[in-house]
């Protein structure tokens, strides 16, 4: 009896170890992935790289148009997606009455979240680039990314609105505030910290999106900074992809350096989101 108990314990420990290794492997992989990119790209990481323009000579090629393009793209995408997403979330949580139209919108959003990003690229190509005559511009790129982002922004915003207890809505009404005043002055201030974290993370994810931008035709040689929303542009992941697909290995080094910059920014946004949440939540006394 004692013997059998021991044996069982050994098997259980072995299983536990296998489970632990399964979770360790992906974590080790992140480290390897980052290490690989840093080692490959270290020699190119310099101020010249960050402030230079693309070039046919790999040792001269720089990342500046991609950095600036991604920055503008991020601002423009946020400016479109955040108001729309927050508005939709407020409508669904605060105004919508249960019924056909509401469930249609809800099912729609959950299905859209599962549509591959490249399909959004096809939509952007036809709807924005061709039909709306935006061309392969920053605006077309931002509109495409905004639609891609929308389901995620709506979901995190709804989540954060749901956290606000109903008694506070009633308190607002009982004080003679109408629905919008209650939402604007009581509910939003309470839910914004929660929503902000999720929104920053979704925007960060949008910066890393490549496929939809390639599909709308943004992969062009851009050796200038965009000067308006109608300007052609490049972005970090597109420039990286461009360098990866060059046959000369020297360009791979550039790609690795670009990847280090992109990864750094992604980690920065993740940290920012976590820090903001902690900081803003301290202002909300529950």
């Amino acid at each position: 009896m004692r013997h059998r108990f021991l044996k069982e314990n050994t098997i259980e420990n072995a299983f536990k170890a296998i489970c632990f290794l399964s979770i360790l492997l992906p974590l080790v992989l992140i480290v390897v992935l980052i290490g690989d990119a840093v080692i490959d790209g270290w020699s190119r990481l310099s101020l010249d790289f960050l402030t230079g323009f693309p070039s046919r000579k790999p040792e001269l090629a720089g990342f500046l148009p991609a950095l600036v393009g991604s920055f503008y793209l991020m601002l423009l995408t946020s400016a479109i997606a955040i108001p729309l997403g927050l508005g939709a979330a407020i409508y669904l949580e605060e105004y919508a009455k249960p019924g056909f139209l509401t469930s249609l919108i809800e099912i729609n959003i959950s299905n859209l979240a599962g549509v591959p990003s490249i399909i959004y690229g096809l939509l952007g190509l036809e709807l924005f680039v061709r039909m709306s005559h935006m061309g392969r511009s920053l605006l077309a790129g931002a509109c495409t990314l905004a639609l891609l982002l929308l389901p995620m922004v709506i979901m995190v915003s709804r989540e954060s609105l749901r956290v606000v207890p109903n008694s506070l809505r009633e308190a607002g009404f009982a004080l003679g505030a109408d629905q919008w005043q209650t939402i604007w002055k009581i509910i939003l201030p309470m839910s914004i910290p929660g929503a902000l974290t999720g929104i920053i993370l979704s925007v960060a994810r949008a910066i890393g999106e490549t496929a939809p931008l390639i599909t709308i035709g943004a992969l062009t040689y851009v050796a200038f900074l965009p000067d308006s929303i109608h300007s052609a542009f490049t972005a970090m992941p597109i420039q990286i992809f461009n360098w990866i697909s060059r046959p000369q290995t020297a360009f791979q080094t550039n790609a690795a350096a670009g990847i280090v910059v992109l990864l750094f920014l992604m980690l920065f946004f993740n940290a920012l989101a976590i820090w903001l949440r902690a900081r803003l939540q301290r202002k909300v006394y529950w």
């Binding site: 009455k97 249960p98 207890p165 008694s167 506070l168 809505r169 009633e170 308190a171 607002g172 009404f173 009982a174 004080l175 003679g176 505030a177 109408d178 005043q181 209650t182 002055k185 009581i186 201030p189 309470m190 202002k283 909300v284 006394y285 529950w286």
Partner: protein, 260 residues
């Protein structure tokens, strides 16, 4: 009944006529006709689920805030039917304020901002904000306790203080009627006693309607008492009559604690 309490009912502030209310298809009020005397305290008692909370939520049109609800009948504030189409419930609620079961100060606001919340929500800038805050908090018997900590968050106060803050928040709007939905049910006996004293003081200026499941409380604070049972108004009279010589057998059974 009306005869004996003539002096009290000389001036009626609010009156419901054949008021019916539903949650979905479930009718919770079966035609209530009741007069609320001006500048007196009206208590509404009855076992859980008798419709007493629904009734007072109909008095400032808060019942319709919950989805899938319905109200039929009339409620008069002075001479105006508040269920008339042209009435905006939002404006009505500035005149008929409400205090809830659990204290619910706004978590993002300081004590001062909580008092001013009603005005700020409506976008009104008070002429003298400090005077408004002091007046409301004094009326709510909270001023002395919080005058030095007005910038602290409302949630830093004790439960009883929070509830008085919520009363101050309502008073800052200078309403005519104050509805209280079991305002002491989440409080300890000492905090409850303070709120009860406060209610006594409030009736010099305001008409108060209080829902309570605590019969001693109704006996202590109210001038008239309505007994609700299963969505009907069973008996409505001067409080001492309800508790000493009730006319209805159900009322007697309830106030003597035989059910509830």
């Amino acid at each position: 009944m009306e005869n004996e309490s003539k002096n009290i009912f000389q001036s009626v502030k609010m009156r419901s006529e054949n008021l019916k209310a539903w949650f979905g298809t479930h009718e919770v009020l079966h035609g209530i006709t009741l007069s609320v005397p001006e500048k007196y305290v009206t208590a509404i008692i009855g076992p859980s689920g008798c419709g007493k909370s629904t009734f007072i939520r109909c008095l400032n049109r808060m019942h319709e805030v919950v989805p899938a609800t319905k109200v039929l009948g009339s409620v008069y504030l002075d001479a105006i039917d508040i269920y008339k189409n042209s009435i905006n419930p939002v404006n009505l609620r500035k005149k008929v304020g409400m205090v809830f079961q659990k204290p619910n100060p706004f978590p993002t606001m300081s004590i001062r901002d909580n008092v001013l919340a009603g005005l700020r929500l409506q976008g009104i800038k008070p002429y003298d904000a400090h005077a408004t805050v002091e007046k409301a908090l004094t009326q709510a018997a909270l001023w002395d306790e919080v005058k030095d900590i007005l910038n602290r968050p409302g949630l830093s106060l004790s439960g009883g203080q929070q509830q008085r803050l919520c009363i101050a928040r309502t008073l800052a709007l200078e309403p005519e009627v104050i509805l209280m939905d079991e305002p002491c049910s989440a409080l300890d006996p000492i905090a409850t006693a303070k709120i009860e004293d406060l209610i006594q003081e409030l009736k010099s200026k305001y008409t108060v309607v209080i829902v309570t499941h605590n019969m001693q409380q109704a006996a202590r604070v109210s001038d008239v008492t309505a007994f609700f049972y299963l969505g009907e108004l069973i008996e409505f009279d001067r409080t001492e009559k309800i508790f000493t010589t009730p006319k209805n057998r159900k009322t007697e059974e309830y106030v003597t604690g035989r059910f509830g």
